[in-house]
Symmetry: C2
């Protein structure tokens, strides 16, 4: 028998229930956002791109920085940027302070796509808020943020 906070084994089911609820609701959220983004005309982006957009939104970033943020190798990040550049969401330029590096920035299309994702997220949250009530929604988000901690957010979709 292992230690897990001195809990009674009969509470295993509670942990499992919470885990499933968490994973399922996160999955629904991703589905809804992806769907909403597609309905707004951006059919060639995947959830991972959203995480990249979020990182690049504030003034752009480097391949290496993006890789660290997404928890992947810089080769994979470079490939992702290649793809986004081809699709017109991102632009590579010289880095102002480091000739080795290249600054990756969102284009207008990239920002438009990000706004679409934000709208889709708000739409999804609004639907749940309508069912749960705004105050419960606020608590929910606060509790989730506590569980999430400050660590990096790796995409897994």
């Amino acid at each position: 028998m292992h230690q897990y906070g001195g809990m009674d084994p009969s509470t295993n089911e509670d942990g499992v229930g919470l885990a499933f609820a968490l994973m399922a609701s996160a999955a629904r959220m991703v589905e809804r956002i992806d769907d909403g983004v597609a309905r707004r005309g951006f059919t060639d982006v995947r959830p991972t791109h959203g995480f990249a957009f979020a990182f690049l939104a504030a003034g752009g970033g480097t391949i290496t920085g993006l890789a660290a943020h997404l928890g992947m190798t810089k080769q994979a990040a470079a490939q992702l940027v290649d793809e986004m550049e081809t699709k017109g969401y991102v632009r590579r330029g010289p880095h102002p302070r480091d000739a080795r590096a290249r600054l990756v920035e969102l284009t207008d299309a990239g920002r438009a796509c990000m706004r679409a994702a934000e709208e889709a997220a708000a739409e999804a949250a609004g639907a749940w808020s309508g069912a749960l009530g705004a105050d419960r929604m606020v608590r929910l988000r606060r509790d989730l943020e506590h569980m999430a901690g400050d660590g990096p957010l790796r995409p897994m979709w």
Copy 2:
């Protein structure tokens, strides 16, 4: 401008915040469970296997059923079962009522691995419960279950 429940655009940020909190906490949960399962000696299983275990736990199932439950093709499910069979977590036998089908069942090792996952989930939930308080934890789970709905739970890890 699109419709999303008549919300003010300034609330976009709330939707995004909720979405990130949801995805990050789900990711943490998966990490913790995966880690706890590994610490209990099962180092050759991935999160996806857990979803398969959960489906097979109640009397076993068929490849096709598993595929539907996991939201993947039956070829992919068959491959997953091959792997779990090789690792000793699962056993293929004849199906009692259909000679075409083969019944996939958990072995003792499979059940032991599932218990390890349940313990790890309870451990993770316990840690959060200790910080948030049991009553908030109950509300959290209930609200999440509401968001999750009844649809199938596709693994994405």
